[in-house]
């Protein structure tokens, strides 16, 4: 799940970790009621500062994605279908923004991008 964590990115590590978890929660890879790894487990497996994991979990708690139960751990909350949908579309928009930024670097315009997209998806459907 955390293959994309990149210390080099200008996006702080805690935000990257929170974003991966939000994605997993919205996509129901992590089910409601399921426990997140302990701070200690996640910090050592990602080799990041435990404070970074705590910050990511607090961020998710503020957003209503998880609840912190004292002494027990951090648990995924049930999201309404509407909430999941809005999180999905947020992710899609972010995806498109990244694509557009990369395309701009190449000097590729929207039309060319559309054609390439149609070609790729067409190729897959066949």
């Amino acid at each position: 799940m955390f293959d994309h964590i990149d210390a080099r990115s200008p996006v702080p590590l805690y935000e990257q970790i929170a974003a991966e978890l939000r994605l997993a929660i919205a996509g129901q890879e992590l089910r409601p009621g399921e426990a997140l790894p302990s701070v200690r487990q996640l910090a050592t497996s990602l080799r990041v500062n435990p404070a970074t994991v705590v910050q990511a979990y607090r961020d998710l708690e503020r957003g209503g994605y998880v609840e912190l139960r004292h002494g027990a751990g951090t648990f995924v909350r049930a999201l309404t279908a509407q909430r999941r949908e809005s999180e999905r579309s947020r992710q899609v928009r972010a995806l498109v923004r990244r694509l557009l930024a990369d395309a701009a670097k190449l000097g590729v315009g929207v039309r060319e991008l559309r054609e390439a997209l149609a070609q790729e998806t067409g190729a897959k459907a066949r």
Partner: protein, 297 residues
């Protein structure tokens, strides 16, 4: 107490080497990366902190204790891994644990034993016969099992293989997660610290050239490839750390601080052509910062 380590106006001199008015400030609970090239004075600074070298002037406080007046009280709460191990070669691993443990009030013999097993160190093995990696693990074990509030690690993984490095790092992170201890770790292996530090201090020629939270250290420092460089940067909130010809293409390559998208737009409007804005990792920022502090643009 909010600072685990605090120095004011710390000065030291040995021959031509000098530490000038060092003001370290290490927040309690942080993992502080003490960076600097070889010979910049990192080890000397640590020796000054721990009362092993004599300062010319200045104040040191460790965990709220005045040093050197209250040094013994401070040392009982500090786990220190020196650059060069100082262990009696004739002792076995088990004897070294007993010997070391006797000095520390909070020594946790049970945990020392479980770390020994986790690190696969044979209790009966003589220290003199341990491999370099095993000595590295034993040193970190000794520092952790005294349950310190502050860990001072001087190049703890230098010269160790990647597997041992990871074992050592994991043990430290587990301890921090559990005990909320402060870690002060010196290294010239910048890359290794990038994921774990929340504070960074950079030492060069005995002077602290930067000390700030890591996200501030990295934020806004970019490498920018210009097809056409801006004519003027006066009046802009942009600091040029270095500039030169772009090895790829005909443009220029700049390293700047305080970059933002808005700034890129205004430069473009003023006739510059920005080809690419590249994020820098901690090591790049570190190198550029030292270059900038040594020779002004």
């Amino acid at each position: 107490m909010t600072q685990a380590i605090e120095t004011r106006g710390l000065r030291y001199r040995a021959g031509s080497f000098e530490i000038r008015s060092l003001g370290l400030s290490v927040p309690a609970g942080s993992i502080y990366g003490f960076l600097g090239p070889n010979g910049s004075g990192k080890t000397t600074t640590i020796r000054l902190l721990l009362g092993m070298a004599r300062r010319v002037a200045g104040e040191v406080r460790l965990l709220g204790h005045d040093v050197p007046a209250q040094l013994p009280a401070a040392l009982g709460r500090i786990g220190y891994v020196p650059e060069r191990p100082h262990l009696y070669q004739a002792l076995t691993v088990a004897e070294a644990l007993r010997f070391h443990g006797a000095f520390y009030p909070a020594w946790d013999a049970a945990w020392a034993e479980s770390l020994r097993a986790q690190f696969a160190l044979a209790a009966g093995q003589r220290i003199g016969r341990l491999s370099k990696g095993e000595v590295g693990k034993l040193m970190i074990l000794l520092a952790l099992a005294q349950r310190p509030d502050l860990l001072i690690l001087d190049e703890p993984t230098d010269g160790l293989d990647p597997i041992v490095r990871r074992d050592v790092l994991t043990a430290v992170l587990e301890y921090v997660a559990e005990m909320h201890a402060t870690v002060f770790v010196s290294s010239h292996l910048v890359h290794e610290l990038e994921r774990i530090c929340d504070w960074v201090g950079v030492l060069d020629h005995g002077s602290l050239v930067a000390q700030l939270p890591i996200e501030h250290f990295k934020s806004g420092v970019k490498r920018v490839r210009f097809g056409t460089p801006p004519v003027l940067t006066n009046g802009l909130h942009l600091e040029v750390i270095s500039r030169g010809a772009d090895p790829v293409g005909a443009g220029e390559l700049w390293v700047v601080r305080n970059w933002s998208d808005d700034l890129g737009h205004s430069l473009t409007e003023a006739g510059a052509h920005v080809r690419e804005v590249i994020d820098l990792d901690l090591e790049d920022v570190f190198v550029e910062l030292l270059r900038g502090s040594r020779q002004p643009v």
